[in-house]
């Protein structure tokens, strides 16, 4: 046994989220989970499996198919002194609650001149890759990141999946957590005494001197895989996990670009007006003269997500595309 195995343990992303919910509910009576099929069904992605037995139907609260109703009810419950975690099955369904998220949760503190803050946490699955077609597969977290008044978290690692929920529950304002649906089965290590994690800063997941790849969520692993391949060819990519899309930490990627002089943004969301456009604009504004080649983006194709496997793959950023693009960028000045 080495020291690492004593202090670290392995679990899946799904288990990490479940653990975070369970611990939070054990610690704080005000916390409850509400959403479609979170109780008897065990959660659409089995995140809340077993929690109903432990906490009962009042605190693991199954809701009807009423996204606006139960998200709004979560906002009201937060105003009334509770700490709700509201689960929306997928990001596409969150559009049925967009009124409550944007017009109520995000505006309440400001509209009331600071009188009423809304400590709600809204979790939802996001992203493609499961052949679920055009109404279950989109990545709208960048679009939500457009909205002042909410925070947008995109945990890409098991540690963040566990720790970010904890931190979100301690936040006085609305926090949206986007869990990429392809990550639920992913295994990772977390410290035995894992707790909340800070959500203010992006993180360098791999160091490198030749190019900065800026990404988050499931694309983090595609980027890390690409970086491994590139390393075999002598290209060292620095991979930055944005972690939080609002507020967006510019400093970490600007520092990296100042070092590598090249930036590629990898994002599953649509290209036009997406979070990648925002990151790119910030690099232009603050680090333009650091650049040795234009900033580039690999984004989701601008098409509603198709069902057929080969088309879906073509619509999403892939490791090969990242490798190819990086090579071209790095050799652009040769």
């Amino acid at each position: 046994m080495n020291g690492k195995t004593e202090t670290m343990r392995q679990l899946t992303y799904r288990e990490a989220v479940r653990e975070a919910i369970r611990e939070a509910m054990q610690k704080d009576d005000r916390i409850f989970l509400m959403g479609e099929d979170v109780g008897r069904y065990g959660g659409c992605f089995a995140v809340s499996k077993g929690l109903l037995e432990e906490f009962g139907p009042e605190r693991i609260r199954d809701t009807p198919l009423s996204e606006a109703g139960f998200v709004g009810a979560g906002i009201g419950a937060a105003l009334g002194g509770m700490r709700p975690i509201v689960e929306i099955m997928t990001v596409n369904f969150s559009l049925l609650a967009a009124d409550q998220i944007l017009n109520t949760a995000a505006t309440f503190l400001h509209m009331s001149g600071g009188l009423f803050n809304v400590p709600i946490v809204i979790r939802m699955a996001t992203g493609g890759g499961k052949q679920l077609a055009a109404q279950h597969s989109h990545s709208l977290e960048g679009w939500y990141a457009h909205i002042p008044g909410i925070k947008v978290l995109t945990p890409g690692t098991v540690e963040d999946a566990r720790g970010m929920l904890w931190t979100a529950l301690e936040d006085p304002d609305p926090v949206l957590i986007f869990e990429n649906n392809t990550l639920y089965n992913m295994k990772g290590e977390v410290p035995v005494n894992a707790g909340p994690v800070e959500i203010e800063r992006a993180r360098v997941r791999r160091s490198g001197a030749d190019i900065t790849i800026i990404t988050y969520g499931a694309c983090l692993f595609k980027s890390l895989d690409a970086a491994k391949i590139l390393a075999q060819e002598g290209i060292e990519a620095e991979v930055i996990d944005l972690r939080t899309l609002r507020p967006l930490d510019s400093e970490t990627f600007l520092n990296s670009v100042a070092k590598t002089h090249r930036a590629l943004i990898v994002d599953e969301g649509w290209r036009s007006g997406g979070i990648s456009a925002e990151v790119s604009a910030r690099i232009m504004e603050k680090a333009f003269y650091e650049l040795d080649s234009p900033v580039e983006r690999i984004c989701g194709a601008e098409v509603p997500m198709p069902y057929a496997k080969h088309l879906e793959e073509a619509a999403m950023p892939q490791v090969e595309t990242i490798v190819k693009t990086v090579k071209r960028m790095v050799h652009s000045n040769d």
């Binding site: 009807p64 906002i75 009201g76 105003l79 009334g80 009331s112 001149g113 009188l115």
Partner: protein, 335 residues
């Protein structure tokens, strides 16, 4: 106009003191709204301004059924609700002036009045948007074992929204302590109820959610009060939500931009004959509960309060532009 027969004319006894209180509140709202219209024309108030004139009996009557720890959720036509709930006229007027002494620090304006002391959770300007919030406030009370009522005002236009359906279902399903108060003034902006609902009997519609519901003459302050007191008692007793449809009418346009092409003057004049203030005064005089001197006294009091409110708003200060992005996120952390 009133095809249902469920309207109840209240015949109950009323003390002089209570009559003074109710009439005083209604007069305050009426004169406050008249002053607001004047100040809008003088360009002191801008944005949208939705006046409550004609509907005063609803706010004043319903508030009589609520206690200070209860919560109120309201709409963009909420000056009357806020005043009846006890939010100060000065802080409301200052809000409409965009001053930082306003109840929402000038961030909300006429449509977004908020007050934590009276648990007034605002003017929601998305029709139906306040309904899910109401469900949540009531859910929080129920989960925390607090015997409190959350009262939600909304217009009949909200009935067509999906959020109405979802909220009534949730409130009934979870037996939540909600008092739904539908202010049916017959027009959603310019669209008549009969042009927007397949079922125009709204109390009957609420009944479809297994919610106890009744319609009441919203122009009759005593009828509204009686219905609200009875409803709130039911809610407090743990019998789940209750729905009151108050049949009322707005005497003024929808907002200051509305040329009122969708209704005839004769219809408005017909409803004015049923005016909540004029008829209540007549009733009190007929029953010899109040006399002209009493009414003069109440008018004078309202006038003074509004004079003070305007002075307060005029003397108010503008928030420094440097503070523009305050209140987007909380500065303080919470436990």
């Amino acid at each position: 106009m009133n095809e249902e027969s469920t309207i109840k004319k209240a015949e109950q006894e009323i003390s002089r003191e209570h009559a003074m209180h109710l009439l005083g509140r209604m007069l305050l709202i009426r004169r406050f709204e008249e002053k607001s219209a004047e100040l809008y024309s003088a360009m002191k108030i801008r944005g949208f301004l939705h006046l409550y004139i004609g509907e005063e009996a609803v706010a004043v009557g319903v508030m009589e059924a609520l206690s200070p720890e209860d919560a109120v959720v309201s709409t963009y036509r909420e000056h009357g609700h806020a005043l009846a709930r006890g939010v100060s006229a000065g802080s409301i007027m200052a809000e409409m002036y965009g001053k930082q002494e306003g109840c929402s620090r000038g961030r909300g304006g006429s449509m977004h009045l908020f007050d934590d002391k009276t648990r007034f959770y605002g003017g929601n300007a998305i029709v139906g948007g306040g309904l899910p919030l109401t469900v949540g406030l009531a859910l929080a009370d129920k989960m925390q074992g607090k015997n409190q009522v959350t009262c939600c005002f909304f217009g009949e236009g909200a009935v067509a929204e999906g959020e109405f359906h979802e909220s009534l279902n949730l409130a009934a399903l979870w037996k939540l302590p909600v008092l739904f108060v539908c202010e049916n003034n017959l027009y959603a902006m310019g669209t008549a109820l009969k042009l927007s609902e397949s079922v125009t009997n709204l109390a009957k519609k609420a009944g479809g959610y297994n919610i106890t519901a009744e319609a009441v003459d919203g122009m009759d302050i005593l009828a509204v009060e009686a219905a609200a007191v009875k409803a709130a008692a039911e809610v407090r007793a743990g019998n789940g939500p209750y729905f009151i449809e108050c049949k009322t009418y707005r005497f003024r346009a929808h907002s200051m931009f509305d040329p009122e092409l969708y209704r005839g003057k004769a219809e408005v004049e017909e409803w004015k004959k049923r005016g909540p203030v004029v008829n209540f005064i007549q009733l009190l005089k007929d029953r010899e509960i109040l006399n002209d001197a009493d009414i003069y006294e109440l008018e004078k009091k309202a006038e003074e309060e509004i004079f003070k409110a305007v002075a307060f708003a005029e003397a108010g200060t503008l928030e420094p532009v440097e503070e523009l992005t305050r209140f987007v996120y909380s500065k303080r952390s919470i436990s």
